[in-house]
Amino acid sequence: MLGKRYADAGYDQGVAVLKDLAAKPATAHFIATKLVRHFVADDPPPRAVERVANAFLSSNGHLPTVYRALIESQEAWSQPLAKYKTPNDYIVSTFRGLQLPADRGRASLAAFEVMGQRTYSPGSPAGWPDRSADWDGASALIKRIEWADAVGQRVGSRVDAKELAPQLLGDNLTPATRTAIARAASGAQAITLMLSAPEFMRR
């Protein structure tokens, strides 16, 4: 394996191979690239990849350390936000942002399907792809807005988007979105606009 011989020690032979593979810089780089592509941008910024890969190597693959390096990467928070949310991110962040009850979670399953990623049905054993070209279709966007509209109809009478938007979006909230929410014709429409805004569509 990669120029090294391993004694035939049964099960332990496989474990020894995996341990050596896990310690390779190429492995760290591969895993870092996948993480950064998934969470930060389709085209991963090299500096963020390097930082996450270094965390992987220096911590001997301690995943909490790796994730901390990802979260602490400046690139993950730089504006404008680069990553168009997956249907999963979009739906989950809506549920969390509006504190929708978890027992309604089942109702969101249909939303995954109309946004193009039916739960447990990726086209490949590798799972859903990490590049947004896979889920940023025109029809998927209108489904996302229609779903946001349905959410707005449901919670618009009790949730004030004017107060919530700065909490959810922080520094990413643009003046245009803030104004649009303030001028919305109804509480429901304000929620729909907040959930449809470019800065909520991305992470």
């Binding site: 168009y84 249909a110 109309v114 946004m115 193009g116 990623q117 039916r118 447990y120 049905s121 990726p122 086209g123 490949s124 054993p125 590798a126 590049r131 070209a133 896979d134 889920w135 940023d136 279709g137 025109a138 029809s139 998927a140 966007l141 209108i142 489904k143 807005i145 229609e146 779903w147 509209d149 349905a150 245009a176 979105t177 649009a180 919305a184 014709a185 429409q189 729909t192 606009l193 449809s196 805004a197 470019p198 569509m201």
Partner: protein, 442 residues
């Protein structure tokens, strides 16, 4: 009618809102020349070509297929006759009518360059147009459209080579540099115009979202116009109601996800929207200013167990597909004369029946090209035979033709993609796959 509202928004709003709609390819009209239309239907899951187009005349066929073997034409449940050697599955009545009308070419013993047995990798090669799975992130059809958009844009000052994917997202074959759109039927209440207008404003500074929203609205307008047109024709007085339009078919259509392995749910008896998808496709294509190319998926072809013969699982799926194609022709009306439809799958299935009365992942299979533009009534096959010595790796129909040869024939003679684009960007390293010429009426 929610859709109607949205269309009014498009018509009245397009002028007022300008900017966003200028990015929509669908909003542009092309010149009035007669337009070639192309529908690419991906049959995900690996279609059994030996069942869809049975070589009942091959001396080894019946023995390999045992209880799955289709009988010769003229016997109850027998194949529909093509040329005395090949037939069509008895569920494919419309395809047979098309063959008789010289509007169908059947290709056999054909495959993509892919030679392994993974659905996912096989579909990737089918769609990416290269020799390897995951070699590129774009599809051959999109790259072909990009070459058309670039070429016509220069000459006429307007975009050409528009495409639409019937589904929420773009399958790989439609991804790439060319501007394309996607459409799928809505299950939620339509947005009101005021909200849409405000969201359009919000997207003014966001090129991706502005262009996607404009495309979605334009696509909805075309689809709703198509549905209304159908109702006006009296063909379906209740068009628009899901119940009336849905077909009850065990095969899923327009799933954007590729097939989910051997244990995929069959969705038996669940109303699916074959008819709706096909009507929408026709609605897009028949317009002079609509897209030229439509793509959609069909799933459920992975028949590992209880495949059935003249009747059964595969038979009912083929029947639903056949009915969908008949509807497509009816809906296209006069535009059918300029249309070509290609049905292709990622690979074939084993020549012999397996232990669960089905067939497993194989290599060569059949493909179908039909339409008013097609010079049909032919089977094109360099038949390798089904003797044990002739089988690929001792188990599969041996591929003697490359699917890219057909694709290159369609793109060059029907869509008029230049041969330089075909050989360089659309199908790189495809010199071995010689273009099949003469597939279309002069």
């Amino acid at each position: 009618m929610g859709m109607l509202k949205r269309r009014e928004f498009l018509q009245t709003g397009a002028l007022a809102l300008g900017g966003a709609f200028l990015t929509s390819r669908l909003a542009f009209a092309r010149t009035g020349t007669s337009k070639s239309r192309f529908v690419f239907i991906i049959m995900r899951g690996a279609l059994d070509g030996l069942a869809a187009a049975p070589p009942y005349g091959d001396p080894d066929y019946a023995g390999l297929r045992r209880e799955l073997a289709l009988k010769a034409p003229g016997t109850p449940g027998g194949a529909l006759p093509l040329n005395g050697f090949f037939g069509l599955h008895p569920s494919l009545g419309f395809l047979h009518d098309s063959y008789t009308a010289q509007e169908l070419v059947v290709f056999h013993a054909i495959s993509s360059p892919y030679r392994e047995r993974s659905h996912f990798d096989g579909q990737d090669v089918l769609e990416n147009g290269t020799l390897q799975p995951h070699a590129v992130q774009t599809g051959w059809l999109n790259r072909a459209l990009a070459s058309l958009q670039a070429g016509h844009g220069k000459e006429l000052g307007v975009p050409a080579g528009d495409g639409v994917a019937l589904g929420q997202n773009f399958p790989l074959v439609m991804r790439g540099p060319a501007s394309v759109t996607s459409w799928s039927p809505s299950k939620l209440a339509a947005l009101d115009d005021d909200t849409l207008e405000r969201i359009t404003d919000l997207y003014a500074g966001d090129p991706l979202l502005a262009s996607r929203l404009a495309d979605a609205l334009a696509a909805d307008a075309i689809a709703s116009a198509a549905a209304e047109g159908t109702a006006a024709d009296g063909a379906a007085a209740t068009a628009g109601s899901d119940g009336a339009m849905a077909t009850t078919a065990p095969s899923g259509v327009m799933s954007t996800a590729a097939h989910n392995g051997a244990a995929a749910p069959l969705q038996r008896g669940k109303p699916l929207r074959y008819t709706e998808v096909v009507r929408a496709a026709a609605g897009f294509l028949r317009r002079a200013d609509g897209p030229q190319v439509a793509v959609f998926d069909t799933t459920g072809w992975d028949t590992h167990a209880n495949e059935g013969s003249a009747e059964g699982q595969l038979a009912s799926r083929l029947a639903a597909l056949d009915a969908g194609l008949r509807t497509l022709k009816e809906e296209l009306g006069p535009a059918w004369a300029d249309t070509a439809v290609l049905l292709a799958t990622e690979f074939g299935r084993t020549a012999a029946t397996n232990g669960t009365r089905g067939t497993d992942h194989g290599t060569a299979t059949a493909a179908f090209l039909l339409g008013g533009a097609v010079q049909g009534g032919r089977v094109i096959a360099d038949w390798p035979g089904l003797s044990s010595r002739a089988l690929y790796q001792g188990r599969d129909l041996n591929p003697t033709a490359d699917l890219r040869s057909v694709l290159k024939g369609v793109l060059s003679e029907h869509l008029l993609v230049s041969s330089s684009a075909l050989e360089s960007t659309v199908f790189p390293n495809s010199a071995d796959a010689r273009t099949i010429k003469g597939l279309f009426r002069a």
